[in-house]
Structures are given as structure tokens and as C-alpha cells.
Symmetry: D3
Subunit: 230 residues, 6 copies
């Protein structure tokens, strides 16, 4: 596996990315057929964290963040770093020094299957990070990895240029070639949900709005007035 | 195990439930003899989440939220949904659509041994949820379960109509027939703790206030001025 | 293992402790050669929690907080309680009653390899706690332990009088005899990082600021313009 | 919660218990409608462990095995001890001393949501144990609990006299009143599976034997000869 | 994501697969540059389990094993089923009925990021399975998935036709196009290790055999005769 | 923290070590006052693994086993390697090559808070290892650590020369200066337990043999003939 840094990657249309970010993880995940989520152990470091952008993928050895430094030489404004390690590690691979550089270069967020530190400073800077752990354990800069090769991050295959959406619900990745489709489907779903929520807010039941009563009958579910004597 | 939806359940007195909610999980748990807690992995989705109400119990297959929809047809204002799955799952079984219906119907909270999504929206709506995970993974509506049958949720046996108390410390369940007793004992404990805290705030030691010095002696614990040479 | 309560322990200079607390966990950990961290499972109960002080070490049986009460008889203003159990437990060993006493006696924080409760009240009081779990499960006062003997807490050996630093990034412990050294090295590191961050904020790359390009070359990492055809 | 030791409990028919034990956990679980399993974290301490008997339920404080001693005063030959703790603990509550007494009294196995020790000796004695952990941590005999009250063990509600089946696949509990039914249904299922396995062994496909082809079609699953070009 | 069953996949040369299986996971992983491992939570159900074959990939909904049945209609002798679920699940998706069919059809093993049951029978049949859990929880046959599409299984991207190697050390996957190369490199590594082991067995040190003394010096590691006074 | 390799350490008397090994973990742990256990996550790689020896302590960076190689230059026959990493890692730091050297040099076992591989070969060689995980992930030899400095391994502080006892129940460490005492106390405990087991095997109850009936009464535990009506 050669240790390459790929300078140029395809990216989705910025307006499409903006729409996907506004729709949010839960809506786009549903619209796209319930795919694309990272494991729920990857959590934002502050509740208001929210980001959407093009994935720059980074593979690091555990406990070594050299390749994150390398990745910063090829990022473009609007990118999200997606970082994984070649074996499980929660070492703190990212802190306020790297976040300062990220913000200067227009990187809009970080998804990291490892640990992060300087979390108070990161919230103060409003640089959003999703990580497996908060841990100050320092890392070294000593071994090779890759930038913009396909990786697996927190259980999901990610290709460079895919669209990353991350918010309080977690992180999802939309394959780049499906980004426009996802935005359209997501807006449809949002509108449909808004309409349903309006009806529910007025007291209608989902059993009626979504027409589920027949299904319950078909499944043999029975309404009774009170608990049978056991 | 027949798949029943029980329409009518006994509920505790609303004023008793209100008092229990004000006392909070830690105080009522102690007052009742240190029983009734769900596992600590069940956490609120925002720090200010707080609820107390009558348990409407829901058993779902993993990855299937049909029975939550069914349960909303029999809830009453002041109820708390208590939902578990028949095998371990963290799929996101509940989001802002169902929460909209819950609020319209007077449901005051949700306890869920599974995943939840739309957490930013849920906090904005101030609909409190306690769950095992935040995870957007969508669920289907395809298989039967039950409503208002006894369940085991996060390690605790819960019967419909039991009083659920949930706050930042987690979730506890008071058997319905013990609710009044729990409220009385809880108020006594709170008053006793308030008195003790007053004395401690003035600098008294718990060793004296709680008369623990003798016990330490009986146990052979020894005060020495400095560490012995090893 | 005799059950001793040691009344007198050496403590670091208060000004040194103050400086270490301001530097924070991540900076001091790096400055000291990347040692001294507790496991990342030990988390603060609210985001703004922050403390630095002299460790008063407490060893309790699981589910028994008697020795925390005993420890409060020998604390001094500026101390941090560091509590562990003799076998794994997440029972709620500490709440607002003990916190009231801690604040009256000048204890500035608690690090606990177990559970904590009354977390809403503790945040309202601004008494910072780092713990493995939030859990209301009550504990008893029935068995002996020790105060101010060396302990292992969340994977780290801690001696009484060591300097505890705790913030949103977690908890670290500085050996007392290295406290002054740590403060000096930490300030140097902070100043160096501030300088680097200034350069990065102006758009320089860490590859240049930290002179990492040569290392990448030595490791055989190669820049290419686009992904090779596979 | 009064601390009772109930001397007399109802038990299922010994021949029914024998049949259930021979059928094993996986078959009876299916036959009974897929209910009754303890969490998969409860594992046998040696591969050949196998037991079936009437549940004598024991609730202990964490780290205290006094009530197991008490339970041995009321067991009958053919019983299985089912032990849980009032809060999570992996302390080693059971070893070869208690196992010697169990075997002398005719107890045929132990299910324990805690830790066990002397595991080499227990295998040599062929006394089967299912536990959450192997851990030598010693326990005390100092606090009250109950024997033969309903408990929740590893996520499952268990009543005294229920039939416990335990083998290499884990542990399940059959409600006593359903034991005979379970044995009959289990034998039918075993016979049906034996017939199916005969057909499969001769090369037939489950798609045909279980008539699943139509379902695949209804679900829109499509057979294609080779991967479509992406 | 269309629900396809791909009938025809490329496979590696059987002799190459045989060689890779004999070399084993640890050796091939090293030979191939330390890539290709599934998470260590995927464990064999008996110590002697050992398999190597061509991956037939299966994606199932959680708690639903229909697509494993579908996969058995397109397997060839020498294949290994590699099964994952679309969200985390430990339900028991595979037992002796499916194993009987697998053996009749020449399938040589199963890798499953979920649960397995009938483990005593599976060992008796000598059908090797690697799984996340042993759990009897039954599954349904109700929802669509895919066969022979690329999947991510236990943290690793797997394509149909890749070579799966599984033994007591866990599971690894060799990209099909690198299989021959991996076999050659693996044999070289094995031979080299055999030579080294011969020297070590005669008492030589790895420091000398692998020429590591200089490195230790370069890193500033110092030999001293006894512990310095602290 | 200087990176030292200490050549000479004090060791306990070989006959004492032999006795402690025969007594085993559970007995010595009890005899010594219930101290000294490593976390239960550290498990033997085969059921019959059993070792006792003098601890040679090794601290490695995560994913780097260079210092194990260094340690082999200073071991003596009868030693047990006790290895930990400076941050959490399950990489496979040890396999059959290093085991070959260990056996040639007289090392009798390995305790490792990380991963191990070549487990089938290690059992065939009868070289016992206790580890946190079985994982083939390869490690590098690139960074400094220490040998025979005090370490914390799996939650326990270990000093070079302490006596390690490891068997199927896990691992414990006896402080060297207490080894003789531990052996004496352990033999007394073993003899006492043998006597008790003789009485229990004849049908006496532990309640009588250990005189626990009075305690149950003092604690308010009540014997009743049958379950009270609820």
C-alpha cells in the first residue's frame, strides 16, 4: 500500500453541500435509503457543532498525526478532514494548534476515529470536531500514512470528495456522485415531514397519518381494554 | 406471548407524581431503599431534561418502531413512554416527528433502551429523552410487539402505570403502589438532607453530623500523623 | 494492608498549582513528556468544570463511601479528593451533601473512579467532579479503607500531595516533586504554541513551521496530482 | 423491600426440566416465541458446561456473597442458583468452596451476573457456572439481600421456580407455568429441524425447503449475473 | 441502493488460497504490509477453527437472516460467507440448520459481524464460525439486503471474491488481485521467521539477530546496572 | 522520564515463588488481604496457562514492541515479562518469534496489557500469555520506553522483582517484600479451605461451618415458608 498524498480530488457542488448540511444527518440518511452513517461512538465535542463539506481522507498510524499535517497542505476551503488510524487508538491526535491552521485554510470541521484535546479552546474557536474520545495523550510525527486514498472510518467506507454531513446526531457520508440526488430527496423528505408534523401538532395520530392501523391488524396485534388476568 | 395493546392502565395520583419529579431520582432512590434505577448507560440528551409521569410500556423488535406509533393511540396527558427492544439495538427509533405527536398528546418524556435522533430539534422543542445512544439509523414499521405489558428496560422490570422519574442523574421507576409512600419518604429525606447541608455549610464534619467516628474505630481504621516509613 | 488515615502530607507550592491549573491538562501533559493521564473514561460532569489542587487520596471498598467522609476530616483548602475503589464499581459515591462539606472546607474538586449523583445540584454549586459514570445508586458506610496512602486511580499511580489538574480534556496528575518543573516547562510550551498559532493563523503550514517536509520524504511519502488508476 | 428468604417455591416437573435441558437454549428459545434470554455477556466458564433446573433466585449487594450462603440452606437437588447484585459488580462471588457445598446439596449449576473464581477447580469438579467475568476479587459477608424473591438478572426478569436452561450458547429462563408447553413445542421444533437438516444435507436449498423465493421477489431483490458497472 | 444478488464473482486461484490459509492470519498480515484485519472483537467459536476461501459478501438488516439463505443459492465449494448487518446487532443469525446447508454446498466457513448459536453443534460438525457474539436470539426473514456487493464488515471494506483467511488469531481479508503476491511474500516471511526462530532457540538475542542495539542507542535508551535512587 | 533499562533487580526466593504459583491467584489474593489483582479483561490465551515468576517490567509506546526486545537482554530464568503501553492499544505486540526467545532464555510467561498473536503456536509451545486481546495487528520497533522501572499495568502498580502469579483466574502481583508472608498465609488459607470443603462435601452448610446464622439475624433477614401475597 503505497503512501501517497493525492493533491487533487473531485468535489461536489458547494450549493449542494450547503443544502445537505442544512438538512442534517437524520434527514439525509433517511432520504438516501438509510445508509452512510458512522458508528454512534463518534460524537461532537460540543452540542452546537455542525458542519458539511468535502471529505479529505487521512490514514494515520495509531498515535502519530504526521499525515494530518501533510493533509493541510492540500486542503481547500470547505473541506472536512476525515481521519482514521490503522489500528484502534484514542490518543489525542488533534488540538488547538492544528485547529488554528484548519480555520486559516478554510477547513470547516474534523471527523476523527481517535481522540481529540484542547476541547474548551476548540469550542471557543467554534471549530467543530467529531471524535471517539476526548483524551490529551500526545502523539508523535514519525511514520507514514496516506492522504486522499479510500479509507474505512468508524465502520464506513469513505472516498475522498464524498460529502460529509455532521451535526449533533453524529456523522454521515454521502457518496459524491449521489450528492445532488441526496439533496433533492432530502428536501422532499423534509417538506413531507413538515407537513406530517403540522397534522400531528393538531392532534392527529401517526397511526392515521401514516395509515398503520391495517398493518397492526395484519400482524395480529390486538387492542384490549385492560390487562388479561394471568 | 400474545401481541397486545392494553388501552387502560392504573395510574398514580398526579400530585404524587409531581412531588416525586421535584424530589428527583437520587433522593427518591434513597428514600425507597435504594432500588428502582435503570442502568447508567441510559442518559438524557440535554442537561436540563427532567420528567415525571406514568409509564406506558412499549416492547419493539430491534430496528422497528411500529409499536411506539401504536402506543400513541392510548396515551394520556402526563404519561412517559418507556420503550425497550426484544434484543439489543441502538437504532434511532424516535425523532422529531414522533416527539411532535407526543407533545400534542401530552406525553411528557421518553425513556428508550435504544437510539434517538433529531436531538437538536428535540432540545429546541424541550421534549426530554433518555436513551442509550444518539444514532440516526432509521427503523422500519413491520413487526409486532406490545403496549402496556410488563417489560424489562435497561435492567429494570417496569409495569405499566409505574411512576417514572428522570433527570440529569438518570432514570428510576417507582412501583405504582409505592408512589405515595415514596413521595412522603422522599420529602422527609430531602428535609433531613437540607438540615444536614446547613450544618455542613457552616463547617461541621459529616463524621460528627452522621456520628461515624465510632464506626471507623470499630473497623480498625487508624489516624496517624504522617506516612509510616515503608 | 493497614487501614490508615494519614493526617499530614506534603503539598506543592500554591502559586505553582495555580499556574498548572491555568495551563491545563493538554499543555502540562505535553510539557512533562506525555505522562500522567487518567483513562479517558473519567469525564467532567459539566463542560466548564476546571480544578487544580493537591491530591488527597482515598481508597474505598466498592459501594461504600465511608472513607470519603473520613478524608474530609484531614483536608486543607486547595485540596482535590482523588478517590478509587478496591474493585470496579460505578455506584454513586458522592452527591450534594458531601459537596456542601467539600466547599465549606475549601476542597476545590473531586476525581472519582466510580459514580456520582446530584449532578444538576453540583453544577449549580459549581463544584467540579470528574467521574466514570453518573449513577444514583446509593452507597453504604460500613467498611474500612485508607486516606493518603498511594493508590492507583483509573490506570494511574497517584501519591498524596501530587498535583491534580482537571479540565474539560480530562484529568492528569503531576508528581509533587516535578510540579515546579512542570509549570516552567508548561509555560514555555504555551508560549511556543502561541507563537506557532500566530503563524498558522496567518496561513503558514505546519509542514513548514514545524519543518516536517523532509521527514515525509525520508518516510517515502509521495505527492501525486491525482489518484492512480487502480 | 423486606429481606426475606423464602423456603418453599413451586418447581416444574423434573422430567420436563430434563427434556428442556436436552433440547438446549437455542431450540427452546425459538420454540417459545423468541423470549427468555439473558444478555450474551453471561458466558459459561468451560465449553462443555450444560445445566437445567429450577431457579433459586438470590439478590446480593455488590461485593457481598452472604445471601448465596443463605440460599444453600433452602435448595433442593436439581436446583440452579440464579444470582444478581443490586448494582453492577464483577467481584468474584463464587469459588470452589461454595461449589463443593452446591454439589453436596444437589445444586446442578450457577448463573451469576457478577464474577467467578477458581475456574480451573470448577471445571475439574464439573460444576458448571455462567458468569459475566472471571475475577478473583474477594467478597465480604456483611449485608442483607433476599432469596427466592423475583429478580432481574442480566436483563431478564426471573421468578423462583422458573426453569433455567444453560449451555454453550448461553442462558435462558422458561416461566414455570410454560415449562411443559415449552418442552412439547421444543421437541416439535427439534424434529422439524432434524427433517430440514436431512434435506439440506442432501443439497437442497433453504430457499426451496423454506419457500423463501417468493418473498425475495416481493421485496424487490433481484438476481443478476454479474456486478453492474458503477 | 438496489438490492441485488450477484451470481458470478471472480475468485482467486484455489492453490493460492490454500497456501494463504496455511500461512495464517498473522503471517500474511505482516507480509502484506500490515493491512486487512477485521476488528479483534470477531472471535472464532472454538479454538481449532481455521478456514480460507473466497468471500461471498452478504448485507442483512439487523435481526434478519433472509439474505444468508439467498446467498446459499450462489455459493461455490471453497467459499467463505462474510456477513454484516446494516446497523449494529448481536442477534443469532446463524446456527446448525444453515451450517448443514453450508457444508453440503462446500462453504468452508462463516465470518459474521453479529451473533451465532448452536455453537456446540457447530464445533461437533467442525464448521468454523467467527462472530462478534454467541447469542441464541432468533432472527426473522422479512427484509431485503444484498449478496456480493462490496460491504464493510467489522471495520474492513470487503469485496466479493477477496480471499478470507481466518484462524485462532482472528480474520483478515486479502484483496483478490493481491492474493498471489501475498502468498509469495507470506512464504518468504515464514521462511525468514523460521530461520530467526532457529537462532533464537539456540539462545541468540533478537537485539543481535535483528540488529536493534544501534537503534536503542540512537533513541537515547540507556542501560544501567541498578535503579537510580529517586 | 528517562528511558532506562535496569539490568539488575531484586528477586524473591525461587522456592517461595514456586509455592505461590501452586497456591494460585484466588488463594493468594485472599490470603494477602484481597489486593493485587489486574483487571479481569486480562485473560489467558489458553485454559491451562499457568505461571509464576519475578516481574521484569516493560513500558512500550503503543504499537511499538522494541522494548520487549530490549528486555530479553536482561531477563533471567524464572522471570515473567509484565508489559504495558503508554496509551491504550490492542496491537499484537508479541508472537511466536519472541516466545521462542523467551523459552530459550527461561522466561516462564508474559502478562501484556495489549494484544497478542500466533496464539495457536503459543499454545503448541506451551508458552503462557495473559493479554487484553488477540489481534494480529503488527507493531513497529521505532520508539523508546523503559525496562525495570515501576509501571501501572491493567490498573495495578507493579515494581520490578514483584512476584507475578497467573492462572486461569487471571493475574495477581505480590509485592516482593511480602512474598514469603504471602506464601505462608496462602498455605494456611489453602489448608483451612481444604478442611472446610471436607465438611461441606459431607453435607454441612456454610451457614453453620462459617457461623453466619447470627449475622443474618442481626441484619434483619427473615426466613419465611412461602412468598407473601403481594
Amino acid at each position: 500500500m503505497s503512501n501517497l498524498i493525492i493533491r487533487t480530488i473531485p468535489r461536489a457542488d458547494p450549493e449542494t453541500i450547503r443544502v445537505l448540511g442544512e438538512l442534517g444527518v437524520a434527514t439525509v440518511h433517511e432520504a438516501l435509503g438509510r445508509i452512510g452513517l458512522l458508528e454512534p461512538a463518534i460524537r461532537p465535542i460540543y452540542p452546537g457543532a455542525r458542519a458539511a463539506g468535502s471529505a479529505v481522507t487521512v490514514l494515520c498510524p495509531p498515535g502519530d498525526n504526521l499525515m494530518i499535517h501533510a493533509a493541510l497542505s492540500i486542503v481547500q476551503p470547505g473541506d472536512v478532514l476525515v481521519v482514521t488510524t490503522s489500528s484502534p487508538s484514542v490518543d489525542g491526535m488533534f488540538g488547538d494548534v492544528l485547529a488554528t491552521s484548519c480555520q486559516a485554510l478554510g477547513v470547516v470541521g474534523l471527523v476523527l476515529d481517535a481522540g481529540v484535546r484542547d476541547t474548551a479552546e476548540l469550542e471557543a474557536m467554534q471549530f467543530p470536531v467529531w471524535a471517539r474520545a476526548v483524551y490529551s495523550q500526545g502523539t508523535i510525527k514519525a511514520a507514514a500514512g496516506s492522504v486522499n486514498q479510500p479509507i474505512t472510518c468508524a465502520g464506513l467506507a469513505v472516498r475522498p470528495g464524498d460529502v460529509v454531513i455532521a451535526d449533533r446526531d453524529g456523522v454521515m457520508v454521502v457518496p459524491r456522485v449521489r450528492a445532488e440526488d441526496a439533496a433533492t430527496l432530502g428536501e422532499q423528505r423534509r417538506d413531507k415531514e413538515t407537513a406530517i408534523k403540522g397534522r400531528l401538532a393538531r392532534g392527529e395520530l401517526t397511526l392515521d397519518v401514516m395509515q398503520l392501523r391495517g398493518l397492526l391488524g395484519d400482524l395480529g396485534v390486538t387492542w384490549v381494554d385492560s390487562a388479561p388476568q394471568s
